[in-house]
Subunit: 350 residues, 4 copies
């Protein structure tokens, strides 16, 4: 079986494995107080052009999300999220488990939130006809860049969100679990510098972008930096052998490996998408990144699934299903070609 | 100004005040361990015909809701609620503050949840294509009887909800902050016995139905009874002078006062509603209880509000607003008549 | 049976009952937005001579404690408390249930915390040899005035605690569930003005000092005032008929009733204590307030308990037990005399 | 500098690195649903001789502790722990942050809890003179095996704790962050089978015993197994590339590597301890495992610290300090010999 179901089916990029191996028996202080972590943080800050920001390394995605949110909010405050946001649907209520309501907002198939939606919620709360203290106070906006459905926010959209957040005193937090695929998308007009300039907090995902595990949290707002180390420890995100995180991000950021390997994954994803479209299959959601969403008739899907794993996304109707086809830094040209061949073979056109 | 904005603008029914006064200097044990509480619990159990149930008295509505929910659920479990449910919109995220997600479900203007909706959510979780552990596990269904918009569930609807909950291992919890107005509605086909038979937990509201304050929690499911006393204390719901709650519910339940005074409030509400309809004003949501929802042109509303307080409900369009007109056990015939007169005076018909 | 076990066995002072009765059918806005609450807050602020402070009314003692603590602390912060502090032993872990560790400190029989102890804990954390982020950060100091064992902090002690808290950036919070008995103690050298000047937050208890229920929270530190209304609502402390709290505190504070009735209770307590001492019974803890703690041989205690209820405090040895004897604003001269008589009758002297 | 300060200064045992490398580009399902995890779990269950138990892999120690505790307890329940227990002092209040009080119990320098202490607390709560609902209900006992001070519980002590827990309905949970060093101690009379037989839950630490990271949770009590997968995900302990945990534990358990490498670390620790004792330095706490605790005059310590890192433990008096000297699976004979030489050189004897 060949896995196209997600972007975490392999280990780490070989350069990362080499780095871990070559430093394996060195002795360093624990908890990320080592030189590799310091160096990796420097590189990320340089890439973000954000000298006042702070970088922290945590182990996983759910963890980094709820740790940032819990640390930023007071008990009566909540976080606005598109209804399909990862925190709202696929983290087992981790945010609520720390005491905070997710104020969910309807969104389209792209999974994006607009500045207008943020304005509307904030205005209803802070300038509405009801006494606000009976309702959760909006204090943060959560977006994913790219979204769960592969879409990316443009620089203009980010700027509009930023402006809305500034106006109403909200933090803007971008979950970048797949940031590498976003940054290297052919449609991207934003950079890490823009993320750092426009967000109070965002993450740069390692797990899905070449590392064994690990997420870098970039906190640009000094309010959010305060005592964040306690939050990491309390929420179980502090790795005893913290250098493992430093070593991985160091490798990813020292010569552009991070975006280079993601760009390659995007390229294969685009080719697969083209193969789908050319052969008569309908796009479920447009995506300029490594996740592609297509609708297949169930009988054709069944045939493809004899050889490939995809992610079930939605039952579209009685006889058709939307699936996610995912490439990653580890996807081989060979496997991608094989899939394209087979899509052509089952295709309804030509 | 005359208040029709809510059902908690006065103190308590005179019989309750008398009872509190006549027992004021008696010495009793604290924390509800007194004879008045015992007697009040007995009366409620008799009214519910539920000898295996347990009755507990708490001070307020938000409190009793989150205490029951927190006590019933494990950390990864959530509660299904209609989107307009009181716990979802007007309790400042109290349920989430105890760690639990509210799985909100769209609902119509009546604010009701259907058995079909419950089935759908439960099936998607327990019998779906996604591994359930990444999502909050539904474990409880929250409804309000009557709803926030004044509607009531019929016995058949409650039975269907009960069946769906039994099928999927969910607790059914009914928030009865206005139970008295529901029980005495001209459209009610359910009794407290039905509530006790079909719900795992429900409340009988005192605050809005004649008491100074106080909500009775009736827990019929033994699982929910276990250690509930600890939960009351931990969540701040245990009154030192617990007898104040016992004395009030005793008064309300010893000769049918509870439903008698609510029935009278409903009668006045129906008359006001008729006056609205007869004079050309549109119903916003149909209600067979003490809360009535009508849409007024803004200029007419402004005029009425020189003399009366209503609750703002929604801006319907540019020039019309929906308001809640609320009667209560304390509404006088005189005030209700005055309002009807004035509605006739501003009315668009005859 | 005559109850001396606690100070909440009766209802409310007759003047309070009168006030509630005479205003019972008035219509007012809910949730404490009424004129009685405003007036009561003014009176309390005047008594505190603290124009920048804010007063809030909550229903109960456990509730007001955890609401203030939760609202003040971030997730990684804890509250220092003497080991016998009410929050540490008799509130069912309510503070921990909101996510915060109580950093318990050993204390003597008086239940007091010293400035030196606070300094020691703070220095160990902020200036110690261990990296602080692995430990809970102390951020608040909790004391009770009077303590659970009836003792009071002198003005000098409060000033020292205040200085230690200022030095280390800690909030000082005083639980005044029995504040009235403290203020009117013959040994008190502090006033409400001192409390307001030296504490960031403190409470003025109604429940045990003449009211049916209700605690006034006085927040002098603007940081703690911010959004406190949300906290009250979220934690179930907001009474729909909020005026009930205003009316009670208004009555207690408009002509000095609060301390006058507590002073009388103290007087009776001192007389009972004298009777105990004169008749050979040993003091368990010295107390200048309404709670007295004495050790009785078990056979004598058994005899007294045929007629009186006391609170069990501790088994001192095989054949002796410490009990709490409590007077209150409601204790009658007659009952106090009867008890003294009986103590004399069983006494070992005279 | 040579690090003897803790047992997590290096990466992983070379066999683990080999395993990770050789499987790096294999495709497997995520979240621990792969064959390596299954096989590792089987091996652990075999070692425990506990077919009804379930094994789960989490990333870190703080995380696995609070996840087990939170998942096991209801909101009003607490966990008994020796005052020096890791959860009580070095996890930033993670347990309280999930809502649960730690009922701390005094303990000696070994950091052990006795069955008698458990009995006393349970009896005071469940069979005491105070109504229990005002206090946190004890429901779990937390111990560490070995303790934070290197001591181990004997089989008899574990059996006594087990009996006390059974008697009072408490769960027994053993934190085995350094389990390997305990199992291979020259004083150990217990095995993994005993742990599985006597505990409801325990962990087998990877991080400090040869792995890069990872803790295995062994839940023998079916009540604790229920829905534990949700708890792992919600609390951030579910690794996307879960096989990394499986691969490591597989390597540690397939041919006894786990205890073999820990035994060697113990051997070097004993030799270092002997060198300390023979040269006149006082033991701070007796330890039969890889952590040794010795008291050094400050001037001598300063000299040693020019070359070696130790962990500060306690200031014993004006001029002496207790430190922890830690060996691990990675400690080289060469470094250990060097330290012993230097201890001899500064020693006060011979």
């Amino acid at each position: 079986m060949i896995y196209f179901n997600c972007d975490y089916t392999e280990g780490a990029h070989p350069k990362i494995m080499e780095k871990l191996l070559s430093t394996n028996l060195e002795q360093t202080p624990g908890y990320g107080e080592d030189g590799y972590c310091s160096r990796a943080k420097e590189l990320i800050l340089q890439a973000c052009d954000a000298p006042g920001a702070q970088v922290y390394f945590l182990v996983g995605g759910t963890q980094v999300n709820f740790t940032i949110i819990r640390s930023a909010l007071r008990a009566h405050q909540g976080v606005i999220s598109p209804v399909t946001g990862h925190i709202n649907v696929h983290e087992t209520g981790a945010v609520e488990a720390t005491g905070h309501k997710i104020l969910e907002v309807p969104c389209g198939v792209e999974g994006k939130l607009s500045a207008g939606q943020v304005e509307e919620i904030a205005a209803a709360h802070f300038a509405g006809s009801m006494p606000p203290i009976h309702m959760v106070q909006p204090k943060m906006v959560y977006i994913s860049q790219p979204t769960e459905n592969g879409a990316i926010y443009s620089k203009a959209e980010l700027e509009a969100l930023h402006a809305a957040c500034q106006k109403w005193g909200l933090y803007l937090f971008a979950d970048g679990a797949r940031m590498g695929y976003g940054l290297s998308s052919r449609e991207a007009d934003f950079t890490l510098k823009d993320m750092a300039r426009l967000c109070d907090a965002f993450t740069i995902g390692g797990t899905k972008c070449g590392a064994l595990f690990g997420e870098a949290a970039v906190l640009t707002n000094p309010e959010l930096q305060r005592d964040f180390g306690y939050a990491i420890k309390q929420n179980g995100g502090m790795l005893a052998k913290g250098r493992l995180l430093g070593l991985q991000f160091l490798t990813l950021f020292e010569d552009g490996l991070y975006t280079r390997i993601c760009e390659e994954a995007n390229r294969l994803a685009y080719e697969i998408a083209d193969a789908c479209k050319e052969n008569g299959f309908t796009e479920y959601a447009p995506s300029p990144t490594n996740q592609q969403f297509f609708i297949f008739p169930d009988d054709i899907l069944k045939k493809l699934e004899e050889k490939y794993h995809f992610s079930f996304w939605e039952k579209v109707d009685e006889c058709r299903t939307a699936v996610r086809i995912c490439t990653s830094w580890a996807t081989t040209e060979e496997n991608a070609r094989a899939l394209m061949e087979d899509i052509r073979a089952v295709g309804v056109k030509g």
